[in-house]
Symmetry: C2
Subunit: 151 residues, 2 copies
């Protein structure tokens, strides 16, 4: 979708909040970080560090810088890490007011991804936590199957 007046101002607002969060922690808004956030914003699905690297103008920043940036952004709660079972971590931008908690339905043939908002009842998690004396329990849940095109 092309950026028209409304979405443009929306983006600027989002940007300012994100960079503001960085500034609060005495972190710097550098060109690699701005580029990473921009790429994550443009892609609705989890990206590997190599995906992000490939999406950049050639030589715009080093792959190691992306790894370092993702650690920082993850610690700050600005991105969420996902694991699809192949050997590479994937990251998604966490929207404002959003805790980033959602799941994915992944095609095991073409690797296509659908975002899933639905989750199981939280009582199940509470019960499991209580039954085992665990605190601060969260979960990771991903679905795998064959998408319509690949069937």
């Amino acid at each position: 979708m092309k950026a028209h007046a409304h979405s443009h101002s929306h983006q600027r607002q989002k940007m300012s909040v994100l960079t503001g969060r960085l500034r609060q922690q005495a972190r710097k808004i550098t060109s690699p970080r701005a580029a990473i956030l921009e790429i994550l914003r443009q892609h609705p699905h989890p990206l590997t560090n190599k995906d992000i690297f490939a999406a950049m103008a050639k030589g715009q920043c080093d792959l190691a810088t992306i790894y370092r940036a993702m650690h920082l952004l993850e610690e700050m709660g600005m991105v969420k890490r996902f694991d699809f079972g192949d050997g590479a971590a994937r990251f998604e931008l966490v929207g404002e007011g959003d805790d980033g908690h959602h799941h994915h339905l992944i095609c095991t043939r073409c690797a296509g991804v659908v975002e899933i908002e639905e989750c199981f009842p939280s009582q199940i998690e509470s019960r499991i936590a209580a039954a085992n004396g665990f605190k601060s329990v969260t979960h990771k849940l991903e679905f795998f199957g064959i998408c319509p095109e690949c069937q």
Copy 2:
């Protein structure tokens, strides 16, 4: 626990089924594979390939052999692969008659693991599959929290 009469015969029965499955596929029962199966049988929790390697008598087999064996055993449905989010795959033996589907509650401090049999209602999965036109949908679910000892 030492093997007494009953558990010994039980083990032999289990062993014969496992090795039988191997034989059916024209695969060979070698000493590394027997050792791997024995270690998996003795450990109730998912093990990394390095864990398995470390649990062996020194030099009993090569690490590459373990990687190759785990691929084979996974293809044959004899072990199940789990992913706890650190960069290493983990494997558990699948019991007979068991499809191996269960989950884990993992302590993020000490990495302790509790097996969880409980799962969410399967209608949730069916609904997600149907809503997106996916077939053969499965899921991976792991819980993370702080165990009683680490709190």
